[in-house]
Symmetry: C2
Subunit: 343 residues, 2 copies
């Protein structure tokens, strides 16, 4: 079993390597690939050093599973090449997610969709994954009618440069704390974010697509519908960037066809191996991004009745966007392919 990671030097690529090692994925050979610019570095896997090689169509010869942690452009260029070389490509970019011939999979929700793969499987958007892991069991028991989501997304979704940018702004902001105006936070040329992100909140993730929604919001709507097989699901999303390094949070209000009792929903969600319910208002326990970071679980809490509709629930969902939101879900797809004999 030869596994390749494409984009091995990025945040998600590095996390894929960690997750493969942690989960003791049954591979015999690891191939680390990156753009020509990033090749040459070395990375450790199970005690051995592996050189990162430049990606090319020939690099996929003999590869069984290719995990793509690349931008859509590179995925479009190489995923089909990997498939032609006989590998199954599991792609973390948005390139193929809405392609009818490509399954978009969260193993807890729609593992059966893997059966119709044609060499490429898409890994969903980070914010979508943590949402559907919680929505799916609720839908199965109570039937979803409508979902309203506001996100609180960490900067690691934008890669290593974004982490550095927030850290650097912590320094300069701290030094000028008495002054308020935001011109004081230096933004260097080539900044990841258009505005300072320290002590700020940016109600935009990804570009605007149709004049009023962002691509991230569009992704969450379309991907949630596709993964859950509910093309008509009524869902409204506002995506927001916050000055947090790791983990995304979501404030969710939903309406169901059958009345859902919060206590029963807590028990229902507790039964999922992928979910941890942290919900004890009395002791002020609920999911936090700092607490979710570096875990593969989806955390949920503040589960309560939404008093503004007859059959409404409100809740708070948190997960590490680099792990369950990206690397872990991709590796879990690979594990499920093995389970189902679909390689």
């Amino acid at each position: 079993m030869r596994v390749a990671i494409v984009g091995a030097t990025g945040l998600v690529g590095e996390m894929m390597r960690r997750v493969l090692e942690e989960r003791d994925f049954p591979l015999t050979d690891l191939v680390l690939l990156a753009s020509q610019r990033s090749r040459g570095s070395k990375q450790r896997f199970k005690g051995e050093w592996h050189k990162v090689r430049g990606v090319s169509p020939a690099a996929f010869n003999g590869v069984d599973i290719a995990l793509f942690a690349t931008e859509a452009e590179l995925s479009r260029e190489y995923a089909a090449a990997a498939a032609r070389a006989g590998a199954v490509a599991i792609d973390n970019s948005s390139a193929f997610r809405m392609d009818k011939d490509v399954p978009l999979v969260v193993p807890e929700v729609n593992p059966g969709d893997l059966k119709r793969h044609n060499g490429i499987i898409a890994n969903p958007n980070c914010s979508t994954i943590q949402l559907v892991v919680i929505l799916w069991p609720i839908h199965e028991s109570y039937r979803l009618e409508r979902v309203v989501v506001s996100t609180y997304q960490s900067v690691s979704g934008k890669g290593k440069d974004a982490l550095t940018e927030l850290a650097n702004q912590m320094d300069s902001y701290r030094a000028n704390l008495e002054a308020i105006p935001y011109s004081l936070v230096p933004r260097v040329k080539g900044s990841v974010f258009k505005y300072p992100i320290i002590s700020n909140i940016i109600p935009q993730v990804d570009v605007f697509v149709d004049g009023d929604h962002t691509r991230e919001e569009e992704k969450m709507v379309n991907e949630t519908r596709k993964i859950m097989g509910l093309p008509g699901l009524r869902i409204a999303v506002t995506c927001v960037r916050v000055p947090v390094l790791f983990s995304h949070c979501e404030s969710v209000n939903l309406e169901t066809e059958k009345r859902a009792d919060p206590a029963k929903v807590k028990r229902l969600l507790s039964r999922s191996q992928s979910v941890e319910v942290i919900d004890s208002p009395r002791s002020e326990q609920y999911p936090l991004p700092l607490g979710a970071a570096d875990s593969d679980k989806v955390f949920v809490g503040r589960i309560r009745r939404d008093p503004s509709v007859p059959k409404g629930l409100a809740m708070w969902i948190v997960s590490d966007n680099l792990r369950k939101g990206a690397a872990t879900n991709a590796v879990q797809i690979a594990e499920k392919l093995l389970d189902l004999g679909l390689l």
Copy 2:
């Protein structure tokens, strides 16, 4: 015209002094009061230094307007004393807000309620003020059916110690950036927040009251209904603390009886002197907390159709919680009392 500020040494009390000076409020005498612990310091107003005196019932003799920037406990102790001494108390705490005999006023929404004051007027919760300034014109034109709000609230709502706590955590976090676990962020005894606030999001503002809602959420529901005179308004709120120093943000989804066109709503809101519409997706312009800080306006943007209901709107509301959310609204109440001859 003698004006007193009670709690003059806190963040809101200091801001009241600044706002009185900036707006050139027609006072002839400024009396600065604080708890016995904080008395003795000196503060500048229009070029002159004023000594902060300890608050006592006698301190209100001859005072016409007493602006209270105190915790509910101190307000309960002294607001009635101020009223008995002949002053009108404008109280920023939660002590009297839901009292039937006390008007709860946002001058843009319900100035007429001032007429029935009995010496005490309540200034609403910060998150509520910025919400109703936007909701009210929409309700007048389109009739509100339901409101769903998720907040992004800055730490300055918890006072000076909270600002210092976030700043100190910026230092220690920056120094340990490579490590992720949150035990690394030192929380000293007596910390304002139960959890680290740097690189974190806390889905709790104020204490839990009925097992699943927080007092802040309860305030926003009850105060919004009272100010707008809509006791049956269907409203669901999730209040969340974010690592931002100044300004609160709100992601709002609302439903109206009459269909509201986003372009018309933008024009409608633009006509309010208190509102600034920043809404240009094409150039990635929308309200930011860093941009709203130190302004008296309520900023709104990302106004768009909520596609999940027939007559829905989504929007993003931002305002400086210390100014329009507290000090400015209190001073505007005082100005309105003068206008209406109600002193």
